[in-house]
């Protein structure tokens, strides 16, 4: 194996720049936090009904959908230590699976979800296998480029709207019944999937598979020395995350009843990274909290300034410069946690 040595040398060079970010909460604390977030999110429809504010339900659905996407990215970013900058592509692929199947007469959400999972997983398998031949900054740039490739493919796919996107005639059906036309059913569908994905991913990262993944994140060289090849583990994680993000795209298409390449721009991928990092990487619950906090912050900033992106950018730069390890790191420093 001639590449083994250079591989090891490259890893050794990267050891000092590897993210050193310990989870803010222990396993128990994470469970409590997840319980609180799920209870709050799950009861939002009651609040929407009490306040007679249907828009709140729409917001809750959007928060849930992006929480699913951020959760899946955390598996790649937080547990796999792969800085993937093309994650929004999977959301877009899932959304287009809905739009393209619906345009061809297949409106059942289960079939559409199956197609979304297959397409996202295959795209993740191919691009992941190529991207994982590289590491570090190469990986960032390549995932970004592949995300853009998917974006430009959809932009030039004029049969399905191209740049302008495509409006869905109606939401998906379930066994022929149009139950998803109700915003409430759609919300609880997405919410149910979020809980399912959270529980599933938690079991996954606690399993042997997850331990190998975390071991590779913490010290790749040592994992290789004790006989684990990181590649199949990282690729599997990448494919699972892609498939989950694809399902988020299915819900997004149904929520907006509109699909366009704008779902998969690289800015969207960047926002997903921001959600995961500032929620706390490698905690799963942090990604959900980060997604909710980020979207609410965005809405709030947009209310008092049309130039909210400027303020978001300034906030982001200041947070990186003056807090090491995002909000989670900031909080743990405030609470006196010792950090290396």
């Amino acid at each position: 194996m001639s590449t083994g040595l250079s591989d090891a040398a490259a890893t050794a060079r990267q050891i000092d720049i590897r993210p050193v970010r310990r989870p803010l909460l222990g396993r128990q604390g994470a469970s409590v936090a997840a319980g609180v977030i799920f209870a709050g999110l799950g009861l939002l429809p009651v609040l929407a009904w009490a306040l007679d504010d249907p828009f709140l339900l729409v917001t809750a659905t959007r928060l849930t959908i992006f929480a699913i996407a951020a959760l899946s990215l955390d598996l790649v970013l937080g547990y796999g230590a792969m800085v993937s900058f093309g994650h929004a592509a999977f959301i877009g692929l899932g959304a287009y699976a809905v739009a393209i199947l619906a345009a061809n007469g297949i409106e059942d959400i289960l079939l559409q979800t199956l197609a979304a999972i297959l397409v996202s997983a295959i795209f993740a398998l191919i691009t992941g296998a190529i991207s994982l031949r590289t590491k570090g900054v190469y990986f960032i740039m390549i995932t970004l480029a592949f995300g853009q490739m998917a974006y430009f493919f959809m932009v030039s796919l004029s049969a399905y709207g191209g740049d302008d996107g495509i409006t869905l005639a109606n939401r998906s059906t379930l066994f022929g019944a149009d139950v998803l036309e109700s915003d409430l059913v759609l919300f609880y569908g997405a919410f149910g999937f979020l809980v399912l994905a959270f529980v599933g991913l938690r079991a996954l990262v606690a399993s042997r598979f997850g331990r190998v993944l975390r071991g590779t994140r913490d010290n790749r060289l040592r994992m290789q020395a004790i006989g684990f090849a990181p590649f199949p583990y990282q690729l599997t994680a990448y494919v699972i995350a892609g498939a989950i993000a694809g399902v988020a795209g299915v819900f997004l298409a149904n929520q907006a009843e509109f699909v366009s390449p704008a779902y998969m721009t690289w800015q969207r991928s960047g926002e997903l990274i921001v959600m995961v990092v500032f929620g706390g990487m490698g905690t799963l619950v942090g990604a959900i909290a980060g997604a909710i906090a980020f979207l609410l912050l965005e809405d709030w900033l947009a209310q008092f300034s049309e130039h909210w992106k400027l303020w978001l950018g300034i906030l982001l730069v200041l947070l990186v410069l003056f807090t090491r390890g995002g909000i989670a790191g900031f909080v743990s420093r405030l609470s006196g946690g010792a950090r290396s």
């Binding site: 800085v83 900054v137 430009f152 400027l310």
Partner: protein, 308 residues
């Protein structure tokens, strides 16, 4: 058909030259400082806006260009002083986040200062004609000027990196920064010079395309992605690799968009061919990148910590 090929090949080289100007700075910044700078594309945008403003102000493109270059240099150095020098010893994720934030700031800032509407810059009179190619084909002077100035810049960079004291320090800094620092070189100042130079090159590219493209917020984003493809193909940190890869990407992209549908037409019926061609052409450079990476995971000219 040959005439069309020649014309498109020239356009491809012109795109490649522009990509090289942006990529050269980015690859140097990565090679020497180990910094991934997503905000390099917005420096290209800032260069274009400054050139447009100074040109409108002075009424002369060359004067505008002459003012825009030191202005982008200064802008780059200010950014380095305020933000980037705090990022050198951070991990790549922090650098990605901070520079992503910087993109949001600068794109929005440009929109606030100059408005969201595209600006246009007139082509200077002296370069507004076209020169004859073979037969009755002609090629605009201005695009020839872009190619020529880009080639001159590439030559200048080559001489600087390989035959000057600062180039020697650059190569040494990329190989072993702490050792250069230990030998008494002010590595902080070296980093600042490299960053300013990279910003100026990107700004130069932006200024040169201002007359042929519309100057608008977000114009740097698509260039940034293409630049990443160039750097990945060429090998991170290698200026020579960036040059070869930039020309390659420019040619493949431009020729693929024109000749992809034409080639497909011989395989399938015309309407399907043009549809498939239009869909596949934008993906060609990514397929090229994937192919290069498959055979050479660290690019065509892997720099391995040295600037070449």
């Amino acid at each position: 058909m040959f005439n069309l090929f020649l014309l498109q090949a020239l356009n491809g080289i012109q795109l490649g030259i522009l990509l090289f100007l942006v990529a050269a700075g980015l690859t140097l910044i990565f090679g020497v400082m180990d910094l991934i700078n997503l905000a390099h594309g917005v420096l290209y945008m800032v260069g274009a806006y400054l050139a447009a403003t100074f040109t409108a102000f002075t009424g002369d493109f060359f004067l505008g260009l002459a003012l825009a270059l030191p202005a982008t240099l200064a802008f780059g150095i200010v950014l380095e002083f305020l933000i980037f020098r705090r990022l050198y010893d951070r991990d790549h994720l922090d650098q990605v986040l901070a520079t992503f934030g910087l993109i949001l700031i600068l794109n929005e800032g440009v929109k606030m200062i100059w408005g969201a509407a595209p600006m246009s810059v007139p082509i200077p009179d002296i370069l507004s004609g076209s020169m004859p190619l073979i037969g009755n084909m002609r090629y605009p002077f201005f695009r020839v000027a872009i190619i020529a100035s880009g080639l001159l810049t590439a030559l200048g960079l080559y001489l600087m990196v390989n035959h000057t004291r600062i180039g020697m320090l650059l190569r040494a800094g990329a190989t072993n920064g702490p050792m250069v620092s230990a030998l008494g070189v002010d590595i902080g100042r070296l980093f600042m010079i490299v960053f300013g130079l990279g910003a100026m090159l990107a700004g130069f590219a932006g200024a040169m395309v201002a007359p042929i493209l519309s100057v608008e917020p977000g114009m740097g984003d698509s260039v940034l992605i293409l630049t990443f493809v160039v750097i990945v193909i060429g090998g991170v940190g290698s200026v020579r690799g960036a040059f070869v890869a930039a020309i390659l990407v420019g040619l493949v992209d431009t020729l693929g968009r024109t000749f992809g549908p034409i080639l497909l037409r011989s395989l399938m019926d015309p309407s399907a061919a043009s549809q498939t061609g239009r869909t596949l052409a934008p993906m060609l450079i990514y397929i090229l990148m994937a192919a290069v990476l498959f055979f050479r995971p660290s690019g065509l000219f892997p720099a391995k910590g040295t600037v070449q």
